[in-house]
């Protein structure tokens, strides 16, 4: 059994989820995978601690320790999952330091990252809408994970994320005194928005109902336009609010297709949306000192966005990202990898430099290896075959593998690849040990090569590779 952990430090709240799962071989595909993870601890969200304009590192460390203690696990036991600092918290100057702090406290294999909006969108979809999407395989599901600082958007079909995007829309760009609309703080994005809307309000001023409506109206309109693929026509203010463009099929929202599109929401605001749909209303205004309820009620009232909210409710809502991190962020390798020594692992934060295949020219491979040679901490390259993107026995004969490995071995020699620099090849087929053996002439060539197989191709900039346990290696991507 392995422990899977997910920590989400968002603009407003932070949460943690722990699960345990066995790693088993799929009896049909032969691929190693997690068997039915069981969530055994899901922390109630707590306010993300700030100290002036920084995240309060000590308080946050206290959170982590308290969660680990409550779940009764040794932090070093976590070998899958990750921690992510998101939204406006990720904009704080010490956010990357927070990632380091988290990493120091939890397992080697666990990814810790900040300001990774596409990953967050992916995670939120996986943590909330994946099951619904599996249940409705013919529907395109768009999940909007709306938190304090960002709205992370993901389009998925049959449980697979197809596209991600992110907007700086959230409850907490405008902070107010709870129970009032008296402004306490404005994010840089809110300041631009006020200027765009012609609102002349400063700290201490109160917003009127029309002011709030216009802010919420801007947000809803921006969401609709992002979903409708109108980002090329964005105004400057709208463009400023777009962190990652959301690329969708052009005719997705064509009236003839609209019935095949379901929108779900998650995140803190998402949770309020479903509470409002269930008839709940806030006690007074701004109970959390932000515009969360106003935004939620605006979404409920927006017929275009809310048409499917009543009928389709995703899971985990406010903790979607933490669930996504714990349950879906880490893959496991096959049991036969090429690893000259287990002491090479773990490998943290390796840049994923690119992809090669049997069709890549030797020059392209050399170019990539020259780039890899510059990465002192080592680097990773994804390898795929030419048949259905798969390198496996069905697609590759011994002859093909021998030829491909010769090309790479020659490229390593010709590029003068340093012998002490770790190079990880990530392959999706089950050929890791043979591939590595052939490239290194059965270990006689001195390259520090690791080949990890049965890892699917991912559009990510970094990868974390954990220690080998029970013949498998956990692999987590980030920087999407």
């Amino acid at each position: 059994m392995i422990i899977m952990a997910g920590f989400d430090f968002g603009t407003t709240t932070s949460s943690a989820v722990f699960a345990r799962a066995a790693v088993v071989k799929n009896g049909i595909t032969g691929v190693m995978e997690y068997a039915t993870p069981e969530v055994f601890f899901a922390a109630e969200p707590r306010y993300t601690p700030y100290l002036e304009d920084r995240i309060d590192e000590a308080a946050l460390a206290g959170y982590i320790d308290a969660w680990l203690a409550a779940a009764n696990i040794n932090p070093k036991d976590a070998s899958a999952g990750g921690a992510i600092v998101t939204g406006l918290a990720a904009q704080k100057e010490n956010s990357s330091m927070i990632a380091s702090l988290i990493r120091a406290r939890i397992g080697d294999a666990v990814v810790a990252t900040a300001n990774d909006p596409s990953l967050e969108s992916w995670l939120a979809f996986m943590g909330s809408a994946r099951e619904l999407s599996r249940e409705l395989p013919d529907q395109s599901i768009i999940n909007l994970d709306i938190g304090g600082g960002t709205t992370n958007m993901a389009l998925g079909v049959n449980g697979e994320v197809r596209s991600t995007g992110c907007l700086f829309i959230g409850a907490r760009h405008v902070q107010v005194t709870p129970g009032t609309y008296q402004i306490q703080a404005l994010s840089p994005y809110a300041k631009h928005l006020f200027s765009h809307l012609g609102l002349v309000k400063n700290i201490g001023d109160s917003l009127s109902k029309p002011d709030v409506d216009s802010i919420v109206g801007f947000y809803l309109n921006l969401m609709r336009r992002a979903l409708a693929g109108q980002s090329t026509d964005f105004s400057d203010c709208e463009a400023l609010h777009e962190q990652v463009p959301f690329s969708l099929p052009p005719d997705l929202f064509h009236p003839s297709n609209r019935a095949a599109v379901t929108i779900t929401v998650s995140g803190g605001v998402g949770e309020l949306v479903y509470r409002a749909m269930a008839g709940e209303s806030p006690t007074g205004v701004t109970p959390f000192g932000d515009l969360g309820w106003d935004l939620a009620l605006g979404l409920v009232g927006d017929e275009w966005i809310s048409s499917s909210l009543k009928t389709h409710v995703p899971k985990n809502m406010g903790r979607a990202t933490a669930f996504g991190l714990a349950l879906y962020n880490t893959e496991v390798s096959g049991t036969t990898v090429y690893l000259p020594s287990e002491s090479i692992l773990p490998l943290r934060d390796l840049p994923v430099l690119g992809r090669i295949s049997q069709d890549s020219s030797p020059a392209d491979i050399i170019k990539l290896l020259e780039l890899a040679a510059k990465s002192r901490t080592g680097s990773a390259i994804q390898v795929h075959g030419r048949i259905n993107g798969q390198v496996n026995a069905g697609a590759n004969s011994a002859k093909e593998i021998q030829m491909f490995s010769t090309v790479i071995a020659n490229a390593l020699r010709n590029s003068g690849y340093p012998h002490d620099r770790t190079l990880v090849l990530l392959i999706n087929g089950n050929v890791g040990k043979t591939f590595g053996s052939l490239i290194t002439s059965w270990g006689r060539d001195p390259f520090r090569l690791v080949v990890i197989d049965e890892i699917s191709l991912r559009a990510a900039n970094f990868v974390n590779i954990g220690r080998m346990t029970h013949q498998i290696i956990p692999v987590s991507f980030y920087g999407m």
Binding site: E131, T336, G394, N430, K433
Partner: protein
């Protein structure tokens, strides 16, 4: 609960020297020396008895033997306990003499022919009383003089009701043991197969898993999981994991929910001790422990579960000259001691060396069922087959029709007939329901109440039980469609399982065609022959013959393929002279030449490249048609090689793809005396000469051949470095703290 009579207190007559049984018929003298020969000749002709030299050579010889047997008194058989090869009464035979002496006294003077007539004239209670006074040998003798109608007619009158959590064995019922085996013990796959089985009304006798790995940890985990499934579905039944009794006892001590204690039995002490690692003392211990600590507590009136089947004693070469039917009856005499909740008979499981064809399997099943019920056991039946015998689905179904008529307590539910772990073919939940409908039977009563509530069954207007709207719909046990899809995705050989895939109580034609196509591919793989010309293009092989001269002798005599025969091109294979190499590669068909043909092109170049790169000294590669795994040993001895890499086709199961599955046996030859002593100490076997490491499942959906090549190279390097293989090697690589 039964109090066990100490073995020493069971009186067994002193064995007598073999005597001649003679008859002159139609002017010809016939004679049989000793009861064992007489019993063997009186039986229908079955492969195991033919191979053991016990079967009659003609119908006339058989009928003479039956005539003589019919004339012998019960007392005559009682007074002549069959002995082991040392002339002693073994513990299994001794337990068989723990009979009801009063009942015995009532019939002891009757001839077997008269007892047979009495059985046919008696009601169920009368038959049970007679049975309580019989040893297994006498029950077997009776089976041999009864025809098909008689085996069915007498057995049908006997009702044995047993109760663990729920009650089975009522005359009106036909129960089933759900067997959700998974090749890798994947709990999700077991969940899937359990849901599928429950949805067709199976599992009322038991949900029982044969584990792929027999460890306390694994079996406890499966028990906990089955318990969870039972609770979540609320199905009124009992659970069991069919590990070794010692493992189950350890699980029980560790707090795992051992509701039913399982063990396979053989009919001779030698087979039980050396092959099953059990003794009467261990069985007694398990029974007493379950009485005190069994998970069902006092609600269970019975809690033991035994599996038996004709031929295991012969296969192990430990039958003491006793025929298969009689040895099987001795198992029942042993099982009777523990008043089991259920007994399952798996005659047909072993292969053509014991039961060659449908007739042999069907007849043996009817005998077993009769003998078991006569001796007081709740007999479940699993007429089954492997693809290398001449038994098929039609024969299996004929057996079940007859056995249902005979009043079998339960059949197995192996989903769509294909066991995904044991690579054999058993009855399915669809078969059970079909039989229930044809023979007007119902599931066990407690289970039925639940199944009606779940819509699996319903009563129609005239009170008849019919399939309900949820019959065959496993979705009812899942939260979401996706959950069911995920479960099905993990479960091999389920080509369709939803309401639309049923036609009445049967799978739809499309499903059956797919199942049968896969079986046909498996059978073709077994019959496939090594293409020597094609393989000679892969490498420069020398061809070595085994003792099996053709496919038939290879399949029917498993030991032949383990011995060297004559080399092609003249000369005796034993002339293989010492070469003192590090490694000898041997390629053999085993039970699938197709597996060799499909993998060799990709495996061999990688394997050879690796072995050469590592600098090992190799002998010229050997190709050995009609070989078995143990062939590695005589080859290693003849060549004086340190290690044999034997690439051999696995026994095909129910998947066309898996019929191409190859295994690599890495056989370390303990040439060095120090290593031999270490291996002997580690294994407890003083005579050990070889250690084995195995890489199996080399095929597309397992370990691709390309990858297997380097995996073998790495393992060989370890074997030769550590000078060990198998568990000893692993213990040296990863020493326990």
């Amino acid at each position: 609960m039964r109090k066990l009579t100490p073995l020493a207190e069971i009186h067994v007559p002193t064995p007598k020297a073999d005597e001649w049984y003679r008859l002159n018929f139609n002017g010809l003298d016939h004679g049989f020396l000793g009861l064992k020969k007489l019993l063997g000749a009186a039986d229908i002709s079955k492969a195991g008895d033919r191979n053991a030299g016990l079967a009659a050579h003609s119908e006339l010889e058989r009928e003479v033997a039956r005539t003589i047997l019919s004339s012998l008194s019960v007392q005559h058989l009682f007074d002549r306990p069959l002995t082991d090869d040392s002339g002693l009464v073994d513990s299994v035979m001794r337990v068989n003499y723990a009979i009801n002496r009063d009942a015995f006294a009532e019939i002891s003077a009757l001839s077997l022919g008269e007892v047979k007539n009495l059985l046919l004239r008696s009601d169920g209670a009368g038959i049970k009383r007679i049975g309580s006074g019989l040893t297994g040998v006498t029950a077997a003798a009776l089976a041999k003089i009864m025809d098909t109608h008689e085996l069915i007619y007498v057995a049908r009158k006997i009702e044995h009701i047993t109760k663990a959590r729920t009650r089975i064995g009522l005359r009106k019922t036909l129960a089933s043991r759900l067997q959700p085996n998974h090749p890798t013990d994947d709990l999700r796959g077991m969940t899937c197969l359990t849901y599928l089985g429950l949805s067709v009304g199976s599992g009322d006798a038991l949900i029982g898993v044969n584990p792929a790995v027999d460890t306390v940890e694994n079996i406890s985990a499966i028990l906990v999981h089955l318990d969870k499934l039972r609770r979540s579905t609320k199905a009124p039944t009992q659970i069991c994991v069919l590990g070794h009794m010692k493992t189950q006892l350890a699980c029980l001590e560790g707090g795992a929910p051992v509701e039913i204690m399982f063990q396979s039995l053989a009919g001779t002490e030698r087979s039980n001790l050396t092959e099953f690692d059990i003794s009467v003392e261990l069985l007694d211990l398990a029974y007493v422990t379950m009485q005190k600590k069994g998970a069902l507590g006092p609600q269970a009136e019975q809690f033991m579960y035994f599996e038996t089947g004709q031929g295991s004693e012969f296969t192990y070469g430990k039958h003491n000259g006793i025929d298969m039917t009689t040895a099987e009856a001795l198992c029942y005499g042993l099982a009777r001691r523990y008043d089991p909740f259920m007994v399952n008979n798996v005659t047909g499981f072993i292969g053509p060396e014991t039961h060659l064809d449908n007739f042999e399997m069907i007849a043996a099943n009817l005998q077993d069922h009769f003998m078991g019920k006569l001796l007081g056991l709740p007999m479940g039946m699993a007429p089954c087959y492997t693809l290398h015998s001449k038994i098929g689905l039609e024969g299996q179904q004929m057996a079940t029709e007859l056995l249902t008529a005979a009043g079998a307590t339960f059949f197995m539910d192996v989903c769509l007939n294909t066991d995904r772990m044991l690579a054999y073919f058993d009855t399915s939940g669809h078969d059970n329901q079909t039989l229930r409908e044809i023979h007007d039977k119902e599931p066990a009563p407690d289970y039925l109440v639940w199944a009606v509530e779940r819509g699996i069954f319903r009563r129609n207007g005239d009170g008849h039980l019919v399939r309900g709207e949820n019959w065959g719909n496993p979705r009812m046990f899942c939260q979401t469609n996706a959950e069911l899809e995920d479960l099905l995705r993990l479960t091999p050989s389920v080509p369709g399982f939803s309401p639309k895939n049923h036609a009445g109580p049967r799978p739809t034609n499309d499903v059956m065609r797919e199942i049968r196509r896969h079986q046909a591919v498996g059978r073709a793989a077994i019959q496939s022959k090594l293409d020597l010309a094609r393989l000679s293009r892969v490498a420069d092989f020398r061809v070595v013959k085994t003792k099996a001269v053709d496919k038939a002798s290879h399949l029917n005599h498993p030991d032949f393929g383990a011995e060297l025969g004559i080399a092609i091109g003249g000369g005796n294979a034993t002339l293989l002279t010492p070469e003192h190499t590090d490694i000898q590669i041997v390629v053999s068909d085993g039970l699938s030449a197709d597996a060799v043909h499909h993998n060799i092109d990709d495996l061999f170049p990688i394997l050879l490249a690796g072995l050469k790169a590592k600098g090992f000294k190799l002998g010229q590669h050997i190709l050995a048609p009609y070989g078995r795994v143990k062939l590695a040993e005589p080859i290693a001895k003849a060549l004086g090689t340190r290690c044999v890499i034997l690439l051999i086709g696995e026994r095909p199961g129910g998947s066309a793809l898996a019929s191409r599955s190859l295994s690599a046996y890495l056989v370390y030859h303990l040439l060095d005396q120090d290593e031999q002593l270490k291996a002997a100490k580690f294994s407890g076997n003083d005579d050990i000469r070889f250690e084995y490491s195995v890489l199996s499942n080399i095929y597309e959906a397992g370990i691709p051949a390309v990858e297997a090549g380097s995996v073998i190279v790495e393992k060989i390097e370890q074997i030769l470095r550590y000078r060990a293989a198998g568990n000893r090697l692993e213990s040296l690589i990863n020493p326990s703290p």
